[in-house]
């Protein structure tokens, strides 16, 4: 796989954007800013997916991550960070020793991984000397796809292929994933609800509830009623 022309330009734009947005995510003082940078990082990665001809995954990335998960993050930030203004001056990083050790380790990892990537890729090329698809072949292949309704782009078979192989080779994991999501839904509902909500759902015995209220001093709003 070798990108060329405008694709290469966009690759570098989005790749660097992803890295910088990621860095800013980690370094931003305000959690909301972090979230927004993370969104831009994710969008950039989605663009990289498009460049790697994985349009379907790119769409899923945008829909699920940016549309779903990040909104969830923002909600939670708003729920939790009520006192963010007061704490604005607080330290955002852990204590210095931890940070220093972490950064050292990470730099070492960067070196190791980058080295490993280059070595590994050259080894891979040696292992697989088959010529990769040239630009011309790619464009010919892309042109053979039918045009979309607006005529401005071509419809690829990516989503079709992913769907077909999802059901053909990975139907069991697919089902398991659905169960996982169900469990996650139920679990998050169970985790996030208050004692009051539990009481109103009527699956806590009233005596237990009374005991709880009586013994737990951190529940003033419940002991009130």
């Amino acid at each position: 796989m070798t990108l060329s022309g405008y694709e290469a330009v966009f690759f570098w734009i989005f790749g660097l954007a992803a890295i910088f947005a990621g860095l800013l995510t980690v370094m931003a003082r305000n959690a909301v800013h972090s979230a927004l940078f993370l969104i831009s990082s994710l969008v950039s990665v989605a663009a990289l997916f498009v460049l790697a001809r994985a349009e379907f995954i790119a769409g899923v990335q945008i829909l699920v991550y940016v549309g779903g998960v990040m909104v969830l993050f923002l909600f939670v930030i708003m729920l939790v960070n009520v006192g963010a203004q007061e704490r604005g001056r607080e330290e955002i990083f852990n204590n210095q020793r931890q940070v220093a050790a972490s950064l050292i380790f990470c730099l070492l990892l960067v070196g190791g991984v980058l080295y490993a990537v280059n070595r590994g890729y050259s080894g891979l090329q040696a292992l697989n000397p088959r010529p990769e698809g040239t630009v011309g072949q790619q464009s010919i292949r892309d042109q053979s796809h039918p045009p979309s309704a607006t005529g401005s782009s071509r419809i690829t078979e990516d989503a079709e292929n992913v769907g077909a192989s999802l059901y053909r080779y990975a139907s069991l994991p697919f089902e398991i994933a659905s169960v996982l999501l169900l469990v996650a839904i139920i679990g998050s509902v169970m985790l996030a609800r208050t004692l009051r909500q539990e009481a109103s759902a009527d699956d806590v015995a009233p005596e237990v509830l009374q005991d709880e209220i009586a013994t737990d001093p951190t529940l003033p709003q419940i002991s009130a009623d």
Partner: protein, 858 residues
Amino acid sequence: MQKYIWLVPLLPLIGAAINGLLGRKLRFSERLIGGIAVGSVALSFLISVAAVYSYGFGGHPEWPKPYLTSQDGFSFNWIPGGAVSINQGAEARTQIELQKQVEERLATMAPEERGRFQSILVSDSPRFALLNIEWSYQLDPLSSIFMLIVTGVGLCIFVFATGYMHGEAGFYRFFAYMGLFMFAMLVLVMGSNFLMMFVGWEGVGLCSYLLIGYYFDRQEAANASRKAFITNRIGDFGFVLAIFGIIATFGSAQYTDVFEQAKAYPIELLGQWGILSWIALGLFVGACGKSAQLPLHVWLPDAMAGPTPVSALIHAATMVTAGLYMVTRTNVIFQHSQTMLLVVALVGAATAIFAATIGITQNDIKKVLAYSTVSQLGFMFMACGVGAFVIGIFHVMTHAFFKALMFLGAGSVIHGMHHEQDMRRMGGLKKYMPYTYWTFMAGWLAICGIIPFSGFWSKDEILWNAASTSQIPLGWLVWLIGTIAATCTAFYMTRLMAMTFWGRERFLEAPAGGEADEAHAAAYDKGLTQHDAVSPAAGDRPRHEPGEHVGPVHEDVAHHVATHGHAHEAHGAHEHGAHIPHESPPSMWVPLAVLALLAVIGGFVGIGPAFRTVTGSEHPGGRMNIVTWLNPVIWNPTTREFNAAEGGHGEETSHAAPAADAAHATPAEADHGTGASVYGHTGFNLAHSVENATHSELATEWIFIIISLVAAGIGMLLGGLFYVWRPQLPAIWAQRLRPLYAASYNKYWVDEFYGWAVTRRTMDAARAVYRFDAGIVDGIVNGLAALSRLFSRITGNFDKYFVDGIVNTVAAFIMRLMSPLFRAAQTGFTANYALVMVLGLMVAVAIFFARDIFSAFR
């Protein structure tokens, strides 16, 4: 329509599943439970009727060939074949291939050459590799009759039960079991192979167990259910052996395959014990268990501890006739064994007379009916034993009508009498329960064998076939016993009528001492206080002391409270003793009326050949006639084929066929003058002797009809004499025939004998084994244990003081040395742990690429 017969067993199962699984959780109302149960059975019944109609009368091209649902694609490979080929692999498979090739070769050979080779091939053909059992339902004349009986009579009983079980806490449970029973019974009669029959067989056994033990908190019911289950196990053992024998002999369990092959086997005459005789013996042992024949009959009377609809459905109309179904289904095998035919006939006759004599002296209305059922089952086996399988099934059908009717009538009486079952405390109910009385009257006339009623046609045919049989010797003895048993039947049934419906209204004054009280079970269910001095913990139902006076009549029904001799204010909502009986609700008497109608007219499908001058034909009605209908499933030993569909010469029927044509004549026919048939000479034949005397077949038949009618009349007149006109007679005669009376009253002490011979011996053996176990085995084990405890104490001390001492010293040293370090490492902060994880990752990367990294620095 036949395509949908797989729904017939399925629907009751679905109904049962809904009721049983959800009924309690969702607190279904009785109306809903009853609706689901009755609706599912009614739907099954409609499908059955439609399927049978289109099969038999809808111009179905295959009639009378069995229709298998697998023909239309409904089947699945229940027990897939090739188990052998998996185990023994290619060898068996090549052998099959080889055999196929050889068979192809054989087809081209000359016949005489072929014969020489074939005998070799048959002997070592690997048939087991092909055993392939599918789950498919079979619709043929026999199964269609049973389908209609089971679903039709079952429907009546379900409707009845919605009224009878009203107010029971276990309402949902009852209907779940009943639905499950319907499913199992339908699988039994509709299956297309022996294994499906076995599944249904065990299924009905299980449901019978569950339903007998429906009032499981009563010791009596629990014991009865266990007794039924264990007794049936003995029979099932024989049945299983027979199935093994069938599979081993024929290499298949499919009815069509088995019977097609069995046709070719030689007939085993009296005293010859070939494989088919052994198979038939096993099958008959199974039938004895399920159908309560003589050695194994003991469970059926006790089974009356279940609710009355159960008695009607399972222990009178359907399940107990499963043995008949099986014997008739395998009539090819039975007819191959003259010995087993004789055994079947004699056992049936013995059971008939045995149970009939017991029935005379019983006082519990359900017990009388139970012994009557046993007796009637004996009649059916008698018919099978003398070769008249069709008539046996005919009697199954009429018996299902009138006995279900009588059981339901008894249920209605029990209901009306507020759960009183002792006939000595009934009487004169005619006035109070007119519907029940008149419907019961129909059942009474039918079972006694009065001429236009259904019981007459079948019972008379049985006796005639017994007298005229040429398949077994001793037919005259069977006939004689049967006639006496029929007389006894008429007698005790008249007694039952008289004690229940006629005469004085004894429930107004009768002393207590009843036999059974479902009311107490109901009280348990409702959690009410028990009356009398029996603690509920004992689990026994309360009893009145014999002779205890129940109480005076309370004219005011509105607030009568039964007052016993002792205090029982806490008697609660259920009372008994002096009661004014009431007629049952429509949900109970409407099924009674339907069954009564069937009991009256049900016999017309089998009008005997003796009436050919009246009806114009031996078997009037075409396929509506049961003989014509069932003949195709009956094997003809003379022609060695199944009977032709419409030919009309079953062996017991073809009196008009020309005797000269020996090849097409039935055994009875061939035997008629010459006394020779495929079964050889069978000795004295009553019918033939009479015929020789009268020189007229028709007259002979009429003589036997008149004899059986007279027998019934004598029985009824005696019953009337004893229990209507001269009520003092029974006591006098009981005194005069004291030993006989005692024997009959105590059911010939069979239970006691079994208790002594089997139960006590088993318990003794168990105790002996227990003593051996407790004394010797446990002693050895305990001794060893003591030894090892001693040893372990020594090693334990060594471990505690020596090894632990060393370890503790070292540990203390290490603890002092290292604990600050470890304590510092456990900060409890997630980030620190994650940092360690990253460190580990780094180390992993370093190790993984170690060689590359080193080479880079070199």
